[in-house]
Point group: C3
Chain length 325, copies 3
Amino acid sequence: MVGGNGIKTVGLAPKMDSGFYGKDIISVRQFTRENLSYIFNIADEMRAVVRRVGSTDLLKGHVLACVFYEPSTRTSSSFIAAMSRLGGSVIPINEVRYSSVTKGESLPDTIRTLESYADVIVLRHPEMGASQVAAEYARKPIINAGDGVGEHPTQALLDLYTIQSDLGRLDGLNVVMAGDLRYGRTVHSLARLLCLYDVQMTFVSPEILRLPLDVMNEVKALGRPVRETYDVRDAIADADVLYVTRVQRERFADQAQYDELKDYYVITPELMENAKKQMIVMHPLPRINEISYALDSDPRAAYFRQMENGMYIRMALLAAVLGKA
Amino acid sequence: MVGGNGIKTVGLAPKMDSGFYGKDIISVRQFTRENLSYIFNIADEMRAVVRRVGSTDLLKGHVLACVFYEPSTRTSSSFIAAMSRLGGSVIPINEVRYSSVTKGESLPDTIRTLESYADVIVLRHPEMGASQVAAEYARKPIINAGDGVGEHPTQALLDLYTIQSDLGRLDGLNVVMAGDLRYGRTVHSLARLLCLYDVQMTFVSPEILRLPLDVMNEVKALGRPVRETYDVRDAIADADVLYVTRVQRERFADQAQYDELKDYYVITPELMENAKKQMIVMHPLPRINEISYALDSDPRAAYFRQMENGMYIRMALLAAVLGKA
Amino acid sequence: MVGGNGIKTVGLAPKMDSGFYGKDIISVRQFTRENLSYIFNIADEMRAVVRRVGSTDLLKGHVLACVFYEPSTRTSSSFIAAMSRLGGSVIPINEVRYSSVTKGESLPDTIRTLESYADVIVLRHPEMGASQVAAEYARKPIINAGDGVGEHPTQALLDLYTIQSDLGRLDGLNVVMAGDLRYGRTVHSLARLLCLYDVQMTFVSPEILRLPLDVMNEVKALGRPVRETYDVRDAIADADVLYVTRVQRERFADQAQYDELKDYYVITPELMENAKKQMIVMHPLPRINEISYALDSDPRAAYFRQMENGMYIRMALLAAVLGKA
């Protein structure tokens, strides 16, 4: 987002104190308790509208360019549905690798072309920082839909919104994150957002997949209580939220080590007997076998609600950056 | 479709006596004369609307997820056009092979994610039974757009609708099906639907591409008169409908056999001189050379009308399962 | 476009004296000063509408099939945006190579199927003449979005519109075209359109990339003054328009020759010091390094405005051929 004076106004993802209109959504670091609460309220309204009448005309006549340099059915479908239910239109661009980019066009040129057609751009790109670069050149709002090992802020927002929505609060909760905490960008972003609240975080992973030191230090620096353990069975009893991510076999040096550990990271109905009655199990999906299918009918299984919430959060963000919230 | 009581209500594709609202469209076996007549009446209305004003707002605010695990330009375009002309929106998902599915996600998880964004799902999948599985997990209606060697019910419906629409009736007709009757799923489904009517069926194919015994026995069990012949010239004279499918060279063991037979299966203007004045030639398309291009201007050539009817039938089905017909 | 009498009315791209309704847009040769002025006036109105309210309902209920046999993000996005901002819907068909075409279906059959769903078809095809063939079979309007080394008329129209729009006139201008004038279809089409106006054309290229003789003779036959030079520095001083295209390294026999020449074909701020204050630099994009990024903030850099104008021109054409302009 280039300001009226031609000076880049995104820089290091400033906090958005003065509203969302015309702003880029690049990083979870842009968010405060206040503007999260603002977005969550809009998301609540979006849910009410969708459940009651399916859609609104709030963004009628507006056009979203949905630019995916790498495929992500889930995220792109969610944004397309969000824009459609707001009455707007979508230019779906899923094959960037076959297009002008392969002729050597730079990201800034592609973005400046697309913003001449669209009112807002959602960008998924394999390189960290791509959304920031796009935002520096674009005059229209850019929404980061994942930039490599960087950020995926709308995922973190929908995760946080699901906790707030299902449990009615964020302060005072014990949030357990289990699985691959080292490479899981989802977990890093969520942990950073949770630091804005009075939350106890518990990290459960095998040794080689522990939360990276920089994220851990960020959480600790904010004075939040932190626990680490290898054993999900150990952590589940007092969890208000159990956030599970995939543990990939490839991360382990030898098969034996994987086989020994993997059972700790599969959430089964039997394991859930140790959990509270009032808590939720989350997963960013796709799951492979980290959560037993037998758990799907448990009311505490929140992962499909989480998907649905993604649409409401994206509706809220689109409406907000286009000044229609 | 999971019922309110949590019990799967699809099972072996029950007849839809109690209306279409909320139902899945999985198999031609679900249809009766009564509900076919109901759908055809809606399709008639859809045609009238499209010809008069282009579209309606019947499904305004509704979202269709169009999920194609294998490409089919014709079918997906037809559904997208149908939803657009009903005023609704579409999430086109054509690259499933590049997406979360390649990360190993199961069909039930993909479907449950997509139904959290959409109101109805159209599914094309290479494996027989995939739509049935999807329907068992989904709370929103599933429409089968082809599942491998299984069914493609909307194709069969548009075929039947074209006969009804062009000839004004179904009872009392002689329907000749010619070409590859062994592997052609289209022919099998149409034959099953035709059994609901007082129809004479004539099957024309080379020996190695004869109608499979199970389909033949099904037709005979219903007491419908059946003829089989090798020679389309022999069958065309008293045909009310000539339904042609592709005969693929690869099906023949040797080239000589193919060369000898193929002329019987190319419909030319010369051959059509033996046909009635009031009859129609159909083809599910794409054709290669089974029907001469010279026939295209013959009013009896119904295959492009057949395509157009596909859109009206799909409009009717979408409106019906969403309770707006 | 088949006329009511069944006679092909496109033939050698007749001039469109009697309006655009129902017509195909195949070639720049169809245009006269009068109908260009008509289209440019509609494009002006489209720009006004988009800037004021984002979109109109002019084509509400209409469906565009956007059929790209080869990828072109820029062109397809522009048409999708244009149709969306007119209130219409789009069937995006980007993977034709995976579809029924790979089963051997002919272009006429594909087009006749798609026109049974859509009201207008935009076609991009790798083979010269494909749009003409499509138009001969289709009853609905075909818009050529590029057919191989043939034409790309909407690109030429948006180029001409940008000159008219930025400089307020076409007669009396000196238009300099620089770069690859041999293979650049864009330049050929623009030169042909410019012949309708009292324009001085200056062609700047290395020897091996000079304007082909047939195009040059066409321009000369119309009595337009023409200059040719190797040196862009030489030509820039009195240019009203500098139209730059990519010079590809592969066109040169040896690297030394390329290295020697390439500096003449990179437009830098330093070079632009020799240019008029009132002139524009254009490029069809994507650019590689023919125009320095440092020029982007120069008000004379018109290439992103050019992109935006593409949307307005396409809105105008869609509205015109559908009889809603």
